[in-house]
């Protein structure tokens, strides 16, 4: 029966694409799940080599595509929800439309338990938990509790790969069994002066006492310990040393593991991408791929859709940097501050369900970092005026801030105001709309192929 239902759902997908209506990314999966609630279990059972799941607040899509690149170099081509659609229907759609003998799925933080129970994965990477869409996910501590419960249940059947630098995630090692491995950054020279404002992990998960940080890298990711109960950051098997950040062009680091070390050259910027790379390398290692091979494969990595890409639009070179929560936005702002020239920006703030209806978070992001580094900014999206107010109070000169809520016009405006280089900072659904617009209007869709 499942084969008949799957064929029908696939046909729906083809029809949508044929009629050129777009937006058909997850409709086949949604249709299939309507026909059969257990479709993911049934199709997933066909993956003879099992599945790997990746979850995190930030970096899921990039990390998964890094791991896909590493696997591809080994001749492994997993079924992979590469468009970043990471709830049940996104996984179902990938299973419907791709063939392969193993699965690689990024999974929404809140859907992880459900997806894991359906796919019975042999490996799970948990990379970070940040304050994000509190109206949808609730508190970060509640998510950490749910993940801990999942690890306890699956300790015997799943190998966990955890970020040693995130106390909310590393704590899961208490329950996740002896196969657990860790990754982290060991280079204090790239740490920030202090813990950022919007810190989500102030307290020890074991005893509740306030944590002491020796180093903070990204948000609350760093080197911490509990002065009360003695809990310490686990020593990572895969670690980054001698980190070199080179603005928007990329980064380098020496990656060490028990098997030896290798020089990473990554064409993606920022410490957050170093964490993504470490997660992918450590997971590859858990899947039997030597660290040296994984590191070498990442040199060919291109930015995935929406996460730092450069697109020629007329005479302008457009780079898109997703911003969706304070920690992620802060890393984008920190990276932009390294640009040698003042920047021209387009910022798209939407409040649709997938963005989180609540736009309060923009006040937790440190837009102050760019106050004297901005030449012009156009604010767009459903809540554009509120973004403009945020920027004004971050000290950006008001005469450089323009509000054009409507997407087409706002982009036109940004492009005509400043031909040359433009950075677009959209929330998630604003990114989808921007991508559609670029494809329709500027014939830029070929940049997302493959």
């Amino acid at each position: 029966m499942i084969r008949l239902k799957a064929a029908f759902a696939r046909l729906i997908g083809r029809l949508i694409r044929f009629t050129g209506r777009g937006g058909g990314t997850t409709l086949p999966g949604r249709v299939l799940l309507k026909l059969d609630r257990d479709a993911v279990d049934k199709l997933g059972a066909g993956l003879s080599e099992g599945s790997t799941l990746i979850s995190a607040t930030n970096g899921k899509t990039t990390t998964a595509s890094m791991l896909a690149v590493i696997l591809a170099a080994e001749g492994r081509h997993p079924v992979h929800n590469r468009t970043g659609s990471n709830m049940n229907w996104g996984v179902a759609t990938a299973l419907l439309e791709q063939d392969g003998d193993e699965g690689l799925f990024e999974v929404d933080e809140a859907w992880l338990a459900e997806t894991a129970s359906r796919l019975d994965p042999h490996t799970i990477l948990l990379a970070n938990l940040f304050r994000d869409q509190l109206d949808r996910y609730g508190e970060t501590e509640a998510l950490a509790d749910a993940w801990l419960g999942l690890a306890r249940e699956r300790a015997a059947s799943t190998t966990f790969v955890l970020n040693a630098d995130d106390p909310l995630v590393a704590d899961i090692g208490r329950a996740s069994g002896p196969d657990t491995s860790y990754f982290g950054i060991e280079d204090g020279s790239v740490a920030s002066a202090e813990l950022q404002h919007a810190s989500d992990a102030k307290n020890c998960r074991v005893c509740g006492a306030e944590l002491t940080y020796e180093l903070a890298f990204v948000g609350h990711l760093g080197h911490y310990r509990c002065p009360s109960c003695g809990m310490v950051r686990p020593a990572p098997e895969v670690s980054a040393h001698e980190v070199r950040l080179t603005g928007m062009t990329g980064l380098g680091a020496r990656i060490r593991s028990p098997e030896g070390s290798a020089e990473l050259e990554l064409p993606l910027p920022g410490l957050y991408n170093l964490y993504n790379a470490l997660g992918a390398i450590a997971t590859a290692r858990a899947l039997g791929i030597p660290v040296g091979a994984a590191v070498a494969s990442l040199a060919s990595m291109k930015a995935v859709f929406g996460r730092v890409e450069r697109i020629p639009v007329g005479s302008t070179e457009l780079s898109i940097l997703l911003i969706k929560n304070p920690a992620g936005a802060n890393e984008v702002l920190r990276t932009l501050a390294l640009e040698p020239e003042p920047v021209d920006l387009w910022v798209g703030l939407n409040d649709r369900i997938a963005d989180g209806r609540d736009v309060s978070w923009i006040w937790d992001a440190d837009f102050e970092e760019l106050a004297d580094r901005v030449r012009s900014v156009v604010c767009a999206g459903t809540r554009a005026p509120e973004m403009a107010v945020r920027l004004k109070y971050a000290g950006w000169p008001t005469e450089r801030i323009e509000v054009v809520g409507e997407l087409d016009r706002s982009l036109e405006r940004a492009l005509e105001a400043r031909p040359g280089r433009l950075f677009a900072l959209p929330t998630y659904t604003a990114l989808l709309e921007l991508r559609q617009l670029l494809a329709d209007r500027y014939d830029a869709d070929r940049y997302w192929q493959g």
């Binding site: 304050r131 509190l134 109206d135 508190e139 970060t140 501590e141 404002h197 919007a198 102030k202 307290n203 509740g208 304070p326 409040d351 209806r357 609540d358 736009v359 309060s360 978070w361 923009i362 006040w363 937790d364 459903t382 809540r383 554009a384 005026p385 509120e386 403009a388 107010v389 945020r390 004004k392 109070y393 971050a394 008001t398 801030i401 509000v403």
Partner: protein, 245 residues
């Protein structure tokens, strides 16, 4: 002329970007040449109830809010009562608002609050009350609208005779049932409109600045008007999000 602001538990009670309110107040003072002094007061700290014109407390995660409740009752109750009686402006938002009452409920536990306002917060089996919200308030005999966002599991009930901040136009308010939102008693305001509500309601920020300056001994102050075109647009944007629900 200066505004002396006390930020209570900024390390714990900041979950919905509460610092946006402080940034907003600071800038609006600075642009008018009004001095702005910010004092942070955390767990274990004490404060002088006469030394602050505006006291702010925001929302926090369950664990933090519980620790803060214990500290408020143990270390700051008297000062809070004295500050309130002395006419200091108190703005308590979300979790901070619940702490003004006699008690609030966390799962099955009833946790003691300040008892500064006649209200109590309980759970009910229904879902969290989440979404954009707008309320009508009456300030200086004028009806105004406050727009914001709410996200709370607790249901707050005011004692008979206790005055709400406003009535719900759209959204849930205190409990989703009686149409009331927040609490108001003299210069004390509690509300579920969380996080950066002042940036969405610049007029309210200015109203609080005026009251705080008066408390600080500057008399009734006519605030210099600012170019609020962006702020007005932001208010309309938040309001239409609430009214579209």
């Amino acid at each position: 002329m200066r505004l002396r602001l006390l930020s209570l538990y900024p390390d714990q009670m900041n979950i919905y970007a509460d610092r946006g309110n402080l940034t907003f107040l600071r800038k609006r003072c600075e642009w008018r040449g009004i001095g702005f002094e910010l004092t942070r007061c955390g767990i274990g700290d004490r404060f002088d109830p006469e030394a602050h014109d505006l006291i702010y407390i925001g929302g926090g995660q369950d664990r933090d809010q519980k620790a803060v409740a214990e500290d408020l009752v143990r270390n700051k109750r008297d000062q809070m009562f004295l500050a309130h009686e002395g006419g200091a402006v108190i703005l308590a938002v979300c979790g901070g608002y619940q702490l003004l009452g006699r008690s609030y409920q966390l799962e099955d536990e009833q946790i003691e609050g300040l008892g500064l306002a006649g209200l109590e917060t309980v759970r009910d089996p229904g879902p969290r009350l989440i979404g954009p919200v707008s309320i009508t308030v009456e300030i200086d005999d004028t009806e105004r609208v406050v727009a914001g966002f709410e996200n709370h599991g607790g249901r707050t009930w005011l004692d008979p005779g206790c005055r709400p901040l406003g009535t719900v136009r759209s959204g849930y308010g205190n409990n989703g049932k009686d149409g009331l939102e927040g609490v108001r008693d003299g210069n004390l305001i509690g509300t579920y409109l969380h996080g950066p509500l002042l940036p969405k309601n610049a007029w309210l920020a200015d109203h609080l600045i005026g009251l705080a300056l008066e408390h600080g001994g500057s008399g009734r102050v006519e605030l210099e008007p600012l170019d609020d075109r962006l702020e007005s647009a932001a208010h309309r944007s938040a309001l239409s999000a609430a009214d579209a629900r």
